[in-house]
């Protein structure tokens, strides 16, 4: 009698316990609800149809806008969640990352034969651009890293979405099915965020990444080792100060072996700025910017705390749903036992009562878990915006390093100019001219000219970055307001909807048990 239903009850519990043993990560709640969809229990009411009737006494009106959120079971298309509303204006209508496939390494990189994990994973990336172009390419994680680096270089000052982390530990951890799935989801979200950005979404780098078949035609950044080698060869000439940096190179931040000298100089400048207290020629004067920065710092702090507590809330909701389900299960087992073994009517009555309570508990448990899936979806906004803070930091540090470059060049210039002055003064004292000194003055004047060009580029770059910062800050403020409003509404609406349902489930049972509250006359046979 209880067979199939009881079985599905058990699977219900099993699915949950599997999910709980997985990471208590925010997003495991998503996979929990997905598996629930599969193990449907016939004992409970059928899956909520769109016209699920609310109890008539409910003052909760306005079916259309709420019903979508409340009554649609959590949408799971490959487990991914649609990002913020701004994606509707994205340059790409659809991006999916799927089908992880393990490819063998062409050249074994491990020294110990047989210890290599057999290769890397590639992912299938399908996309449809605004103009209707459909594309399908295969990329590996390394390609994403390249894309991220390229975007960072060419979009300084913008809030460039941060790419997913590399695996922390090499070897087995990188290849587990869970890890691959987590990565797939993360990569998909990353690409969608890129596409949603008004500037990056239209960038060539992204387009090439999504559409160019075969190997990714973006130059990867050379790794530090080779740069060091490079740098070592060129160092002597740099130290002599004769090496002239092209203006275009100047606008890139100093990094790697080639720019050792520049790094030294900029470091010296930083020290000067901080310790000597000499006011550099150009400072961050934009008061509005500094105020904004403070506010954002505060916001980041609050976001961190709130998102932590949001995670705890999600866990607590998950737990209560789970325990409610287990309580229901325990009662189901007891009911079955009592009705099987019943010899007296009182037992049968009790078994029947218990069954009502058990059924309600299981129903409530399912509702809690559905609610939680919604809650995760909504409160995820907090996480998103925390992630955006990372991009903001990068954009702000783009700004300060550009400023540092300008300051360094200006200090260079003043040094050079004063050297020229001294030399000219000394040369003029010698009658008939000092040919060697004059020659050096000429050389210095050449260097000054080049440096002034570089400074011109650097200032221009700095201004560009400042503009980027400003427009991005405005955009972020708007986006944040929209997102937070969505989040609050979504959270509240789903709470109201689901708790009303839970309430009516229990109310029915309470009514049915009402007779017991009229305390009976105790029996005295």
């Amino acid at each position: 009698m209880m067979g199939p239903e009881e079985e599905s009850m058990e699977t219900l519990t099993l699915a949950t316990s599997a999910a709980t043993t997985a990471a208590s990560d925010y997003h495991s709640a998503i996979s929990t609800s997905t598996s629930q969809e599969i193990h449907r229990d016939p004992l409970l009411s059928p899956p909520v149809p769109p016209n699920f009737a609310l109890s008539p006494s409910s003052s909760f009106v306005d079916p259309p806008s709420y019903s979508d959120v409340v009554f649609t079971p959590f949408n799971s298309s490959n487990g991914s969640v649609s990002p913020s509303p701004s994606s509707s204006t994205s340059n790409y209508l659809r991006i999916t990352v799927s089908d992880p496939v393990q490819e063998p390494e062409t050249v074994s990189t491990s020294l110990v034969p047989g210890s290599g994990s057999g290769g890397y994973f590639t992912y299938l990336i399908t996309s449809r651009a605004r103009d209707g172009t459909d594309s399908q390419v295969r990329r590996r994680f390394r390609d994403f890293v390249t894309l991220a680096d390229r975007l960072a270089e060419s979009h300084r000052g913008l809030f460039v979405p941060v790419r997913p982390d590399k695996g922390v530990v090499e070897g087995r951890v990188m290849k587990s099915a869970d890890f691959i799935e987590q990565r797939r989801v993360a990569l998909e979200r990353y690409l969608r965020r890129l596409a949603a950005h008004p500037v990056i979404g239209k960038s060539d780098e992204l387009r090439v990444f999504l559409q160019a078949e075969g190997r990714l035609p973006l130059l990867p950044t050379t790794d530090v080792a080779s740069r060091m080698l490079d740098g070592a060869v060129r160092l002597p000439r740099q130290l002599s100060g004769v090496e002239m940096a092209g203006p275009e190179e100047v606008v890139q931040p100093a990094k790697g072996g080639r720019d050792l000298l520049r790094i030294f100089k900029e470091l010296k400048q930083t020290v000067t700025n901080e310790w000597v207290g000499a006011r550099p020629a150009v400072v961050e004067e934009d008061r509005e910017f500094l105020e904004k920065k403070d506010i954002l710092q505060d916001l980041e702090l609050q976001l961190t705390t709130t998102s932590q507590h949001a995670e705890n809330l999600v866990k607590a909701q998950q737990d209560i749903g789970e325990t409610m389900g287990e309580l229901g299960l325990a009662f189901i087992k007891l009911t079955k036992f009592e009705s099987d073994e019943a010899t007296l009517d009182s037992q049968r009555t009790r078994a029947a009562d218990m069954k009502k309570v058990a059924t309600a508990a299981v129903k409530a448990s399912r509702l809690y878990r559905e609610l939680n899936a919604q809650t995760v979806k909504h409160l995820d906004t907090l996480h998103e915006h925390l992630g955006i803070m990372l991009s903001v930091h990068t954009a702000f540090s783009d700004r300060s390093s550009a400023l540092l470059t300008v300051q360094t060049l200006m200090s260079d210039l003043s040094t050079l100019n004063s050297r020229v002055e001294k030399l000219e003064a000394a040369a003029s004292k010698i009658f008939g001219g000092d040919r060697s000194r004059l020659r050096r003055v000429e050389e210095l004047k050449e260097t000054i000219k080049v440096t002034e060009d570089a400074k011109f580029c650097a200032v221009r770059e700095y201004e560009r970055i400042k503009d980027n910062n400003r427009s991005e800050l405005e955009r972020l403020d708007c986006q944040r307001r929209d997102d937070f409003l969505s989040m609050l509404k979504g959270f509240v609406i789903s709470q109201v909807g689901y708790y009303e349902k839970i309430g009516s489930v229990w109310e029915t049972v309470a009514d049915e048990m009402h007779e017991y509250s009229r305390v009976k006359e105790s029996n005295g046979q």
């Binding site: 309570v357 609050l488 007779e515 305390v519 006359e521």
Partner: protein, 398 residues
């Protein structure tokens, strides 16, 4: 099946006003901490309201402590074999929890239920010991209690019983019977299995119920923290936004309190009844042990009597002088054996009555617990929905 002299007696489990019928209502109230340090304990005010002369009506008040209740429980267990003596709430508790408000209330409730069950039991309510418990002054009660503790303390009577058990086991072995003698009634076997399995199932439900209480508390805590954090987050945003966050945060804090309240309600009115159910089943197991003992005695004495009869016949045939002694001995043994058999059969009858009563009682009590549970959950859910709904207008306005 129905014994004489048992007009239904109204007790505090039926608050209908006395209509001239005999009634007795007992309340265990006002727990007060007495003494200091390790010696400290809780005393309770036991108020007996009755229109029956045996309870010195209309009202009698005494002060009692847990060990007094224990004394009563033990006396009743001794004297009324076959009856499922109502269980006491737990004896010991973790030290620091012992004086917590929650534990004290749980115990008070448990003791109240205990004493009223005794007073409403058709047989137990007539017991002398019950009257002693309800009516005696404190000093006498204390003396009575310590006397019993001295001579017939549970421990020493246990040891006594253990000796007897060893004795009978030894004689079993000597007589060639290795196994302890047990009834072979299939119905009773079924009942035993039922009781043992029932305890397991009940223990599981009680465990989950307790966990559910904890979950309510945890959810409440997390909502409070979340609410506070949201308030602070809102302060970073502008005026209007800040207000919405603040409203949401406050609701979170309010709901946290409601959840804590419901957790307490669940503990007292749902988890405790389930725990009580488990204890009641354990009491049945104790009765079953009594029945097994009675059965063993009945078998042993019957066996002994038979042997004595054989011996007597032998002596008679031999015209021995010891025949007379043996006859007296045999007659004594026979009388004892008949007593033991009567006792055993009385237990069987009582148990059958008790079982029917037990099942009915449990259905009613559990039904009430279910009602409370469902009611509490329904109210909580509606409160939560209402609270969040209140935030919506502020959000719409943005």
């Amino acid at each position: 099946m129905i014994s004489t002299d048992n007009d239904p007696v109204e007790t505090s489990q039926s608050p209908r006003s006395p209509s001239g019928k005999a009634f007795v209502m007992i309340s265990v109230t006002e727990p007060v901490k007495m003494g200091t340090g390790v010696q400290s304990y809780i005393s309770y005010r036991v108020i007996t309201k009755s229109n029956m002369t045996e309870f010195e009506g209309p009202e009698k008040i005494v002060i009692r402590r847990y060990s007094d209740f224990e004394w009563l429980h033990d006396k009743l267990s001794e004297k009324y074999k076959g009856i499922f003596i109502p269980p006491l709430p737990e004896k010991s508790a973790v030290e620091k929890f012992r004086f917590s408000a929650e534990f004290i209330e749980m115990r008070r409730q448990g003791l109240d239920v205990f004493i009223n069950r005794i007073a409403s039991h058709p047989v137990l309510r007539k017991s002398e010991d019950l009257r002693t418990f309800l009516l005696e002054e404190e000093e006498r009660m204390e003396r009575i209690r310590s006397i019993e503790a001295g001579i017939f303390s549970k421990k020493s009577s246990d040891i006594f019983q253990m000796f007897k058990d060893v004795q009978s086991k030894v004689s079993d072995v000597v007589l060639g019977k290795e196994k302890p003698v047990e009834e072979s009634d299939p119905e009773y076997e079924k009942l035993k299995t039922y009781i043992f399995e029932l305890e397991n199932h009940l223990a599981e439900t009680q465990k989950q119920a307790f966990r559910l209480v904890k979950r309510h508390r945890e959810l409440g805590q997390s909502l409070a923290d979340f609410g506070k954090a949201m308030k602070l987050l809102g302060a970073c945003e502008g005026e209007s936004f800040g207000k919405a966050f603040s409203e949401l945060g406050s609701k979170g804090e309010i709901l946290s309190l409601k959840l804590q309240k419901e957790a307490y309600n669940l503990l007292m009115n749902f988890e405790e009844p389930l725990k009580d159910y488990v204890r009641a089943v354990q009491s049945i197991k104790a009765t079953m042990a009594d029945r097994a003992n009675a059965f063993r005695q009945h078998c042993e004495l019957a066996e002994t009597t038979k042997l004595k009869e054989i011996n007597l016949d032998k002596l008679r045939l031999m015209h021995s002088e010891r025949a007379r002694e043996a006859e007296i001995d045999f007659k004594e043994s026979k009388a004892e054996s008949e007593e033991a058999t009567k006792r055993f059969e009385a237990i069987i009858n009582t148990m059958n009555e008790e079982l029917a009563r037990f099942q009915e009682q449990k259905t009613a009590e559990l039904g009430l617990a279910f009602h409370e549970f469902a009611k509490g959950q329904a109210k909580l859910a509606h409160d939560v929905a209402d609270a969040w709904r209140g935030v919506l207008p502020k959000l719409e306005a943005l």
